[in-house]
């Protein structure tokens, strides 16, 4: 499995990471190198094996739908780059 420059650009878009010009080539070569390692997996026949997502057979615990956390919005928003009236400010999204 070999990545093309278009693949790299597509992945960068998915990952929301800016990748410019020369960087595309560098990523292409580094990622292809890593995929060389990963390809070894394809040799194994895993027919009939159940995928394992984590060690224990865990299930999502549920709890009553009541408020348990204190309101610490001010403390949390003090860390944000830009806020106004309790909202986080970002560039306009809707055209």
């Amino acid at each position: 499995m070999s990545l093309s420059p278009q693949d790299v650009e597509r992945i960068a878009k998915l990952a929301r990471i800016r990748v410019d010009g020369d960087e595309v080539m560098a990523y292409q070569s580094q990622l292809n190198n890593i995929f060389g390692l990963i390809e070894a997996m394809q040799a194994v026949d895993t027919a009939g094996i159940a995928p394992m997502s984590h060690a224990q057979d865990l299930f999502q615990r549920l709890r009553p739908d009541v408020v348990t956390e204190p309101n610490r919005r001010d403390a949390f928003q003090a860390l944000a780059p830009q806020t106004e009236n309790g909202l986080y400010l970002v560039p306009k999204v809707i055209e």
Binding site: Q30, L31, V44
Partner: protein, 485 residues
């Protein structure tokens, strides 16, 4: 200053020293050595001494517990209220945490002052502590060499006795491998034993926090503080409370130690091979029996890991977008521009590589071929261990393929770096407990680590084997000559 946690606890209980005195001594050593070793990102003597005074007051009013007043350093991956918590990244270089991780809460409840936040590979991605935004950590045994990673700062600070112990995290070997390269003892518990709440996430199905200290006994005492159910971590396990030091003094006669054929093949050579063979001989002398076991799918663990961990990382690191906290790019047009530049500038190259791999293997058309295939391999690897544990009580192997390599030696080729974790990764995939302890030195005086792997929830037995070995040997008591002191 070679005192273990156990010894410090006794000195405090007997009034031979105070927490303030201990913290001042360690802070002096940090001051003297950190410019060279770069093991700490954040140190704050005022905060540390305030906690020390509170601990001394607790002891004075007979409200202290076993470890009250014993100081500890924390890997900068644990959110620590009021402290800069950077995860080794530019992305969080301005993040002063508004809350404590569960692990930090546990240590505060135990009355253990925080000596500082230790350096680490960025977002825990690395095996040499060379990817940190804050610069590499140097191995106290040879400052031209790496301490291992990602918990390199924690390993170096304990090895140099800048702290008697430190917390670490382990996703593919990040406690065990640096412990081996720095000549200390480090343990990764069974997945689910220590809460991940407040521990900045890398790969959620693999990450586990654990203790790094001078001895197995100390690791047991610290695990007693760290372990326990936490409702805020959906993968935290509800189990009866246990004392991880309960089996330390159990003699080893009849203990069956499994030696995986695949880990003792032609790749294991030189001083590492000799030291591990000598350790096996020592354990036999103590009464243990050895048995060959098979882990046939273990050779594919690195491949499977480099699909699963990046996939989970790409999801976990999507929260870093410059909106609510952390770094935001200074100039941007629209929202997409802001996201893309923030993440391109805020993350280092290894982190970006792994996010990209993750995004790819999870994308449409590739999910089954890569991600699902890797999860199936994970099942096979876990099954291999289950079969091996039918024939033995504990598994033994080297921790790392080589001793500490030179700074810059493996940074050109990520895959070469990834292979440093060849003995440790399968343990995370299976979710088993594992630890590393010192078992010798190579011809250049660099430490060699021995890995023990236990069955699920068998930390106490694994620590017992390590402790008996440490009673009969003294590799763990050696510390490099102090640097800059």
């Amino acid at each position: 200053m070679n005192k273990t946690i156990k010894q410090l606890s006794t000195l405090l209980a007997e009034g031979e020293t105070s927490s303030v005195e201990l913290c001042q001594d360690y802070l002096t050593r940090i001051q003297a050595q950190n410019a060279t070793l770069n093991a700490f990102i954040s140190v704050d003597a005022d905060k540390t001494l305030a906690e020390a005074r509170a601990a001394d007051a607790l002891r004075a009013s007979s409200q202290g517990s076993l470890l009250t007043g014993v100081p500890i350093a924390h890997k900068d991956i644990f959110c620590t209220e009021g402290w800069l918590t950077t995860c080794g990244s530019k992305m969080l270089s301005n993040f002063v945490s508004p809350y404590d991780a569960h692990v930090i809460e546990q240590f505060k409840a135990a009355g253990m002052p925080c000596l500082g936040k230790t350096n680490m590979d960025e977002f825990a991605m690395g095996s040499s502590n060379e990817t940190s935004f804050y610069g590499p950590v140097r191995n106290p045994w040879d400052t031209e060499r790496v301490p291992g990673g990602s918990s390199g700062g924690s390993a170096a600070c304990v090895a140099a006795r800048m702290a008697p112990a430190a917390t670490g995290t382990d996703t593919g070997g990040s406690i065990r491998q640096p412990a081996a390269l720095c000549g200390i003892t480090g343990l990764k518990p069974t997945y689910g034993v220590v809460s991940r709440y407040g521990m900045i996430a890398f790969a959620s199905s693999l990450d586990q926090a654990g203790p790094m200290a001078q001895t197995a006994e100390d690791c047991g005492l610290l695990l007693n503080v760290m372990a326990g159910f936490d409702a805020r971590d959906s993968t935290s396990l509800e189990r009866p409370k246990e004392d991880y030091t309960r089996s330390l003094n159990q003699p080893l006669s009849g203990m069956r130690i499994g030696l995986p054929r695949e880990f003792f093949g032609p790749g294991l050579v030189g001083d590492t091979a000799n030291a591990v063979e000598a350790a096996i001989a020592q354990l036999r002398k103590l009464g243990a029996e050895t048995v060959e076991v098979d882990l046939p799918n273990s050779s594919l663990s690195v491949a499977a890991y480099y699909v699963l961990a990046p996939a989970e990382a790409s999801s976990n690191l999507s929260r870093f977008d410059g909106v609510r906290y952390g770094y935001r790019t200074p100039e941007y047009g629209d929202l997409t521009d802001m996201y893309e530049k923030t993440r391109a500038e805020g993350f280092g190259s290894e982190v970006k590589r792994r996010i990209m791999i993750g995004a790819y293997v999870l994308s449409h058309g590739y999910y089954d071929a890569y991600y699902i295939q890797a999860q199936k391999l994970r099942r096979l690897i876990a099954n291999d261990f289950a079969a091996a544990f039918q024939q033995c009580d504990v598994i033994l192997s080297p921790t790392a393929p080589s001793t500490a390599f030179k700074l810059g030696e493996k940074t050109a080729d990520p895959v070469e770096m990834y292979l440093s974790d060849i003995y440790t990764i399968a343990v995370n995939l299976a979710g088993l407990p594992g630890m590393s302890l010192p078992c010798g030195f190579d011809a250049q005086g660099l430490p060699i680590g021995l890995q023990l792997i236990g069955n699920y929830f068998d930390e106490a037995r694994m620590l017992g084997v390590a402790h008996q070995y440490q009673l009969a040997t003294d590799w763990h008591m050696v510390s490099p000559a102090l640097v800059g002191c």
